[in-house]
Amino acid sequence: MSLETTSASAKPKSTKEALFSPKNKRLLYDPLNDNNPITVQVLGICSALAVTVKMEPSIVMALAVIVVSAFSNVIISLIRNIIPTRIRIIVQLTIVAAMVILVDQFLKAFVFDVSKQLSVFVGLIITNCIIMGRLEAFAMANKPWPSFLDGIGNGIGYGVILVIVSMIRELLGSGELMGFRIIPESIYKMGYFNNSLIIMPPMALIIVGIIIWVQRSRNKKLIET
């Protein structure tokens, strides 16, 4: 009798995958390193470079991208079977744009200063290739829950690079982190200067280049020939 109940309770498990099975966990962890959207897939670079002068806007931007990519992945995945393939790009763009408008209005209402700093880049989340790329490559062919995890994972992978770059730039460029002074006044008196070149946009590219260099020398299988 007891054997029967266990086998009966085990049966639905085998047909329905556990929420955090190893396969689903991989969806979450893979984009952090082996399949990072910025350094490996080359997606979503435009916004990554422009908002990373200070840490605060880049954290807000990262959160916005995580929210948009997770939920647009879910929505597209739910309706993936009824989208006509010829016009799928317009359908995808419309859904992403609706999500971005929600996020934009939310930012304007609660963190107005940051939303002013981000200016057009919140709008440009629509054409952020991470979101479109994941919609095309993953959500169009997978169930809602894995798509949700994939969206969160890629959003976090994007956010990690954003935070690293902005940390380097804010620390070296203005001696602060999150607006708090890190490098003490006494060092400035000894003749230390903020590196104003690092605030310039081109340095963000070079920092990302160096991050790629470091990542690939630790992770040999990513090296291009």
């Binding site: 971005v100 054409t127 081109p202 590219l205 291009e224």
Partner: protein, 204 residues
């Protein structure tokens, strides 16, 4: 005169790639050979020149605060500018689709050489970026908006052709393994952007 200023400014001083990093993804992905770079560059010029004025008209007669005045005075108080993202992207996506159909019909040779790039332009950030900058800077006439679109397209094309030429030469140089491919391309683009910074501060 004003038009020439906007044109030159959009190409060199406010270059889409080197000043704002817009359209970076396809810029890095499709700059392996000069030939495909030129193809994509021309397509971007074309789409920008058509879609920026289209978005300008949309902005002026539908979206801006009080823009619906031409319908009737009842609509004077309506401000639809919060809808601009979704309207602009829909306009751009449909223009790209339209361009694709026209090119396919009348210039099949060009169509096959552009291949996958044409539909990809819909998600090229520089197009939506151009439309949003046009909205932010409030150009006075349709002519100015068109010239701005053309100029940013030419600037983008210039940047991708230059990078692809350098990358073709780079194949013969000895780069450290982990830096090969993507890494060195990033650093190269950074150096090119520093070079373009020398145009900054020129007032026209």
């Amino acid at each position: 005169m004003e038009h020439i200023n906007i044109f030159i400014k959009a190409i060199f001083i406010e270059n889409m790639i080197f000043a704002y990093f817009l359209g970076m993804c396809s810029y890095l992905a499709i700059s392996k050979t000069v030939k495909s770079a030129i193809g994509l560059g021309l397509a971007v010029i074309f789409v920008l020149t058509v879609s920026v004025p289209a978005c300008y008209l949309l902005e002026k007669y539908v979206l801006k605060a009080g823009a619906l005045r031409w319908l009737s005075s009842d609509f004077e108080a309506i401000d639809l500018s919060f809808l601009s993202f979704i309207m602009f992207i829909a306009t751009i996506a449909s223009i790209v689709q339209l361009v694709e159909m026209i090119v396919e019909k009348y210039a099949p040779a060009l169509y096959t050489s552009l291949g996958i790039f044409l539909p990809l332009i819909a998600v090229n950030c520089s197009i939506l970026g151009g439309a949003l900058f046009m909205q932010e800077r409030e150009y006075a006439t349709l002519g100015e908006a068109t010239v701005f679109g053309l100029g940013s397209g030419v600037g983008w094309c210039l940047a991708i052709v230059a990078l692809s030429a350098i990358r073709e030469k780079l194949r013969y140089s000895n780069i450290p393994g982990p830096l090969r491919g993507l890494g060195i391309t990033f650093i190269l683009t950074g150096l090119m952007a520093i070079a373009f910074m020398s145009f900054m501060g020129i007032s026209l």
